[in-house]
Symmetry: C2
Subunit: 344 residues, 2 copies
Amino acid sequence: MGSDGVAEKLRAGAVPTLEMVAAHAGVSRATVSRVVNGSPKVTPDVTEVVQRAIEALNYVPNRAARSLASRKTQAIALIVPESAARVFADPFFASVVQGIALHLADTDYTLNMIIESESQSGKTRRYLLGGNVDGALVVSHHTGDHSYAQLSRTLPVVFGGRPLSDTESDNYFIDVDNQHGAETAVAHLVASGRTTIATIAGPQDMPPGLDRLAGWREVLTQHGMDTELFEVGDFSPASGVTAMKRLLAREPKIDGVFAANDQMAIGAYSAIREAGLRIPEDIAVIGFDDDIYGATATPALTTVHQPSVEMGREMARVLVKLIEGEPVDTLTKLKTSLVVRASA
Amino acid sequence: MGSDGVAEKLRAGAVPTLEMVAAHAGVSRATVSRVVNGSPKVTPDVTEVVQRAIEALNYVPNRAARSLASRKTQAIALIVPESAARVFADPFFASVVQGIALHLADTDYTLNMIIESESQSGKTRRYLLGGNVDGALVVSHHTGDHSYAQLSRTLPVVFGGRPLSDTESDNYFIDVDNQHGAETAVAHLVASGRTTIATIAGPQDMPPGLDRLAGWREVLTQHGMDTELFEVGDFSPASGVTAMKRLLAREPKIDGVFAANDQMAIGAYSAIREAGLRIPEDIAVIGFDDDIYGATATPALTTVHQPSVEMGREMARVLVKLIEGEPVDTLTKLKTSLVVRASA
DNA sequence: GTGAAAGCGCTAACAG
DNA sequence: CTGTTAGCGCTTTCAC
């Protein structure tokens, strides 16, 4: 009965199943399963016979069946909450995804990318709660938006970027050390002899905006310098132009400026030139992010590099550990580094 | 027996199963399944009772079980074959992925992103052949590399970009109309009075390189103009510089140049300026791609826009149709459009 | 160490 | 139109 059918399929060249491998190797399905899952208690001889059968049949385990029986999916969701278009235009995001995918390639986990269109946020929640994945990764570049925070009570979740409020202390975050990065940049300005250093800050309702401003303030304070010279932008080039103009109007003696991101720094370039000043001779400029805008600008922008690929890798690493029950830190901070080019 | 256990679980607040919904609604599991899958032959009354039970229990179907029973995965693989780093730095690729994800969000399919690291190409093949996905999408920007061509005999596959050779005629492709785009660009140059039009072609072993050169040649031929003025680059800015210099050395009277991509066009900018010529007064320049390099250059580059998001969307749309057995065209060509800015 | 048996949660004939 | 009956392919106790 059963084995006849199997023998038949074996010959038919159908998609090989564990049962067929078992028949081919002359062992039980349980044993094949053990070999496939690397169980230690299987005789080497048997293991080899099974391995051979697997290769002979070109057997590949069926994911769905395995998932159903083991109650694990071996899949991880990558949630992209912000407006899709904006997120994908962001090179930072692309690098993070790259890092995630690279790390996952070394594991048995699969990456399920989900673009969260607001029109169907319920769909995403259902997907995540429906046992379709073992864990989720949430990327939200600049915004501190963590509307998925509650999710973590049901499912392992790792966020990219720190939360705005610390009430969500039971969540896991991978963050870039924004404040330290900003400090490095401003310290560079100070070290190169600049004495009137302004900053174009990011939105003060976003963690990176807050932290980078704090870094600027910290260094100036240490050097007993004026800490009032800042204007807030929204991370767009246009806001960089406006902010720089206001800064120049307030204090014409400015000889150094730290912008909270590269795009605003490029905006500042325009305002500075319009005022008839030169970069870096009259005003040194440093940005933050190390994106394509700054790299291709003239003069090439000195900026703070964000370890974006590394961030993705770390997010994936932490999530996998979390899923597998290993202990991990609640907050991981990644180091930034100053990329000195021509603008400062 | 059975129903007692179910009633118990119902109270216990365990993850709801179809069986629990059936018990709650007082119908059979089959009926619940029909309602969930939108079968037309269920009485409205019954449907409603079931729906209510589903909501009451907050039931979500288990994907693995459904997949196992129906022998469908409702998942699509996105394969990224080229060196991951390069691909992700490419804004074109990011947009394509965006388009794919956007279309899939409207369907019941899930996107599995796979970065194909050469170290484990076998893993990818096994994954695809192991019945883990219902179909695959292969993106390869400029290269005509379709090493996955054979796959399509086993699994529905849709490629982005046309194949280099036409031997793979049983495969499905979504391509951009490179030749027509190039023709539009060159026609624009001709229409604006340019008489000595050169081109910086892309690699001649890549479809876009070939097609864009063909477009240039076609228009010049139509106008009885010289068709010898071309140099081949490798799509990098540096190769654009070199090619432009050679072109200028060969023919100083050049007053228009069409580059096969924006990055080479920007390279040409340097060479042109170095020769003491102005853009667009002395030489009009047009690129191809409409990427960030051209948009932020000075003067802003006139270029041919690639419908990248649309390409992703189309790839996903075609693959889903293919999976569901609907007829689709073997080759879909997407229209490009000329973006006139300051350089021509 | 290995096999037998019992499901995992759902779909899909097949009756009725 | 609805219920019954079998599995889908694999893991996992529990005996042997």
